[in-house]
């Protein structure tokens, strides 16, 4: 899947190249300066790899979700609980992104779900190229769900499409209500917020209505579900959302008529 992407010379043109020298500058042209009008998208390469990943998922009827959050929001615990609840209904595969360690992939593998860990080293986000290679190793089966647990970072992963169907932002109630305003790009890029650790609400002054209002200021379409990975509270709505998203993936896919 690591093929040469399409960015580059398409759409580029050389202004005045037919003349061998250039007319639009007022400085000395002894060394044949010329100006290229390019309009090249700097993220084009990532986006091309993301498209390949998207085709990979579509061909196999796989639902891919990109889980994004700050460090410590409870992403991995939520994922472990989700995989347990999906049980025999839907097979789960996981790509784990962290700067270092295989701790998270180990936690996922303990549930029986296949997991591949990507260590980004100095990198602050997963990119579509790395995820494409992880998919070769992970080899998700047809009709399954692939969870991509991104690096805990609410900034950079917003800009990098991985080919997922949806970005799901996880925000825990121990964080601030204004997080969607502080990190608007991520909440603008996400379709769903899982408000996690709601079992802690009795001990906190967290204002759920204010959080939802802030998220909607940034993204009027965003949905918010309250969950607790620890107690399982609200997890049924999340599973229902996930199965509906899967239904959308399977619509028009050959598996769509065979499944369920």
């Amino acid at each position: 899947m690591c093929t040469t992407c399409g960015c580059g010379s398409d759409g580029a043109r050389i202004e005045g190249s037919a003349h061998g020298h250039h007319h639009h500058h007022d400085h000395d042209h002894g060394d044949h300066n010329r100006t290229l009008q390019l309009e090249l998208d700097i993220l084009a390469k990532n986006n091309a790899y993301a498209s390949e990943n998207r085709s990979f998922f579509a061909d196999r009827g796989v639902l891919a979700l990109n889980l994004v959050s700050s460090p410590g929001s409870g992403k991995t615990a939520l994922l472990v609980k989700t995989i347990e609840l999906l049980g025999g209904r839907l097979q789960s595969f996981v790509i784990e992104g962290d700067q270092q360690t295989t701790n998270d992939a180990d936690r996922i593998r303990a549930t029986g779900a296949p997991a591949v860990q990507i260590n980004t080293g100095k990198g602050c986000h997963l990119d579509a190229h790395t995820v494409g290679h992880a998919l070769e190793t992970l080899a998700p089966v047809e009709g399954s769900v692939v969870f991509i647990e991104n690096v805990g970072n609410l900034v950079c992963p917003a800009a990098f499409d991985l080919g997922e169907a949806h970005k799901v932002a996880i925000l825990s109630v121990t964080e601030g209500e204004d997080k969607p305003l502080k990190y608007p790009d991520m909440f603008a890029a996400s379709d769903l917020v899982l408000l996690n650790k709601t079992d802690l609400l009795p001990h906190l002054d967290f204002d759920i209505a204010a959080t939802v209002a802030n998220a909607r200021k940034v993204n009027p379409q965003i949905k918010v579900l309250q969950v607790s990975a620890r107690t399982g509270g609200g997890m049924d709505s999340w599973i229902a959302w996930l199965m509906a998203a899967r239904g959308m993936v399977l619509a028009g896919h050959p598996l769509g008529t065979a499944a369920e």
Binding site: H32, N33, L36, E39, I42, C124, A188, P220
Partner: protein
């Protein structure tokens, strides 16, 4: 936070262009960057000099054209320029805005030789 890798992507694109359009040096690079591109311009300038060192673009001047955020209000239809994603519609105060531009991250022009 990923300005360094953005600079590396820029250098990759320049190298591809150098092969396709036959040039060996870059004198000036014009980038178009929107406020919503998630790029800190000062960090990008710093990373730029470091990444371009010992390349065909070493010492190239960096011009940055900052674009504005444009949005359409889905309630009253106003098209306006806003500062942040969470700004209200300047006409009716609604937050039901669709951002139409402002996340540009492009190489607009290269001056080469």
């Amino acid at each position: 936070m990923h300005e360094m890798s953005i600079c590396e992507s820029i250098l990759d694109l320049i190298k591809e262009q150098a092969r396709a359009q036959d040039f060996s040096g870059v004198r000036r690079i014009s980038l178009e960057i929107g406020p919503l591109a998630g790029v800190e311009i000062e960090a990008l300038k710093f990373g730029f000099d470091v990444v371009m060192r010992n390349s065909l673009a070493e010492g190239a001047a960096l011009d940055i054209i900052e674009t504005e955020v444009r949005a359409t209000c889905l309630d009253c239809g106003t098209e306006a320029s806003i500062e942040e994603r969470f700004d209200p519609c300047p006409n009716c105060g609604s937050h039901n805005l669709k951002v139409t531009s402002g996340d540009e991250l492009r190489i607009k022009e290269l001056e080469v030789n």
